[in-house]
Symmetry: C2
């Protein structure tokens, strides 16, 4: 951030009175521009013994597999965002959303929410940011070609939980992702 | 948003190619400035049969009672944000955080996460944005003087769930708050 989005003047870094952290402050209108984490929402769509994955056609991690997920937008709910991303990336419709993983990625200031969901039908196809969409059983999952640590975690947890038949919320703090974060 | 935070040029509203919504686009460097929902994180601190509330000393809703909560910051986890806000607003320490309410407020582009938590001790006091901190039993809660709909919901749910002895995650979409949203 170099310029004030309200008045166009230059920005300085300083600690406001009564605060304890450096903020982006406008040198002219003195507005304090706070930076806030972003929410990534998506689905883990299930069809019989398989799950739906998308092969990314955009950076980061183009060519790697992921769950349909993306940045939540203003004016929508987290569930709405998960449904929208599933429709946009996989042209797929899902039902019975249940919050399944909630992952804080503090180093990249993101919070990811993945909903377990039932895939409604087999009428899916690659969206604009997707190269391919496919259903995978546990044995078929391309574990070495998954795009993100959070997606790896969600899939591992799902297949473990499926053996027990219960799918509790997994609340994870990821301090140091071993694969790139969602973007 | 009037000016580009990267180059200082003026912003126009337009639908980028391949998109379906109006975005804030820089007229000079063509950067697309996306707007994203903010996360509010906080705690519902419990001490024996009582809960801790804070009386706000700042707008919005100055003079009304709330749970310690506030905007999550970059570089922290949701739990960290809830702990920090509880310390900042009530000078209180809590343990055993468990995600209890997750509320999407689409009309104001906020997602609120309230963690049920155990208050560690009675050494609490009003922080900078707080006029008073107090413990209230169910009968004593100032229901008509609560600051926000989400706080009302969380407290109602807590006292109901306490009768059953189970505290599941409540995932709520609030389309039209009857009280002002958190801010
Ligand atoms: Zn300014
Ligand atoms: Zn620009």
């Amino acid at each position: 951030m170099n310029f004030c989005s309200q008045c166009g003047a230059s920005i300085k870094l300083a600690i406001p009175e009564g605060d304890n952290r450096q903020r982006h402050i406008c040198t002219s209108c003195h507005h304090i521009h706070y930076l806030n984490p972003k929410i990534v929402a998506g689905c883990l769509p299930v069809w019989q013994d398989k799950v739906l994955l998308c092969k990314r056609s955009i950076e980061p991690r183009s060519g790697y597999w992921t769950l349909p997920a993306g940045f939540m937008e203003n004016g929508e709910s987290t569930r709405h965002a998960a449904l929208r991303e599933t429709r946009e990336e996989a042209n797929a419709r899902v039902s019975n959303l249940q919050l399944y993983t909630l992952t804080s990625m503090a180093p990249v200031s993101q919070v990811q929410m993945i909903y377990l969901a039932q895939l409604d039908d087999l009428d899916f196809s690659a969206g604009d940011e997707t190269e391919a969409v496919a259903l995978y059983s546990e044995e078929e999952i391309p574990w070495d070609d998954l795009a993100f640590q959070t997606i790896h975690n969600a899939l591992k947890l799902f297949f473990e939980d499926r053996k027990k038949g219960i799918f509790p919320l997994h609340h994870i703090d990821l301090e140091r992702p071993s694969k790139p974060p969602e973007n």
